[in-house]
Symmetry: C2
Subunit: 133 residues, 2 copies
DNA sequence: CTGCATCCTACCAGATACTG
DNA sequence: CAGTATCTGGTAGGATGCAG
């Protein structure tokens, strides 16, 4: 019996690589902030707590499913705090935790790079596309 | 005739919001670097040009489809330069452009945050999960 | 060696409707 | 008001085979 076929070997390599990626802190972080809504929520909560319905209006494009889901994930990650005020009707506020707030400088850095260089990217794209016709 | 039904209004709001997002530089950037392979390629190319096959080996888990696709996108964005050396067999090298290299500090910042705070995230997750049983 | 085209699957986001 | 539950369609991404 042969050691391993090529596909088998690649599969196991892939497995090990995935395992490695799963433990890579930088990738774990990227997977989180890269989420479409996480970055927007980080921004929306940057200058103070917001109610669920406020967030829902601010991020006009989000479905409540994704809003809830994203907030839950961020809460689980310790990025936001959820406060329920028992009343009728119920009131729920979300706020950044210190950990969540410590992410803001990074978002700012990304924003800064983007605003400085995005036109270069656009030009590169235009040039690239031009060469293809 | 009524102005708009609720679903219609939400749909058009969503449309406008999507349009806004599409023009948001920071989001455009995030969409790019958040890509699983882009960040890894940025790293792999950080200290010099690499051949296609080298990259393929370094990023053990990538399918050649994704490798090629990702490299193409990065080339289009002006982040990497592609150099073909006509020979038999063909030789293709990829290198970071200055624009691509200017992204490295951001990746470093992300990595730094991740390494500093990831254990807090892990703890938060553990605490959160513990509360649910 | 490098890369494209095709097919195929698994996952995820959105719509919708219902609950405390 | 602030969610939860379920269904479904689109799409990202892997496998495979062929080509320059």
């Amino acid at each position: 019996m042969a050691t391993q076929t090529a596909p088998q070997r690649r599969a196991s390599e892939r497995e090990r690589f995935d395992a490695y990626l799963a433990t890579c802190p930088a990738r774990k972080l990227l997977d989180r902030i890269s989420d479409k809504w996480v970055s927007l929520l980080l921004n929306a909560l940057a200058d103070g707590p917001r109610r669920y319905s406020e967030l829902s209006r601010t991020l006009a494009g989000v479905s409540q499913k994704m809003l809830t889901q994203t907030l839950r994930t961020m809460e689980r990650d310790g990025l936001v705090a959820r406060t329920v005020t028992p009343a009728v009707p119920v009131r729920v506020d979300y706020a950044l935790t210190p950990l969540g707030a410590s992410l803001l400088p990074i978002m700012t850095a990304i924003k800064a790079w983007a605003e400085t260089h995005i036109h270069e990217v656009d030009e590169a794209q235009a040039a690239y596309d031009a060469g293809r016709f």
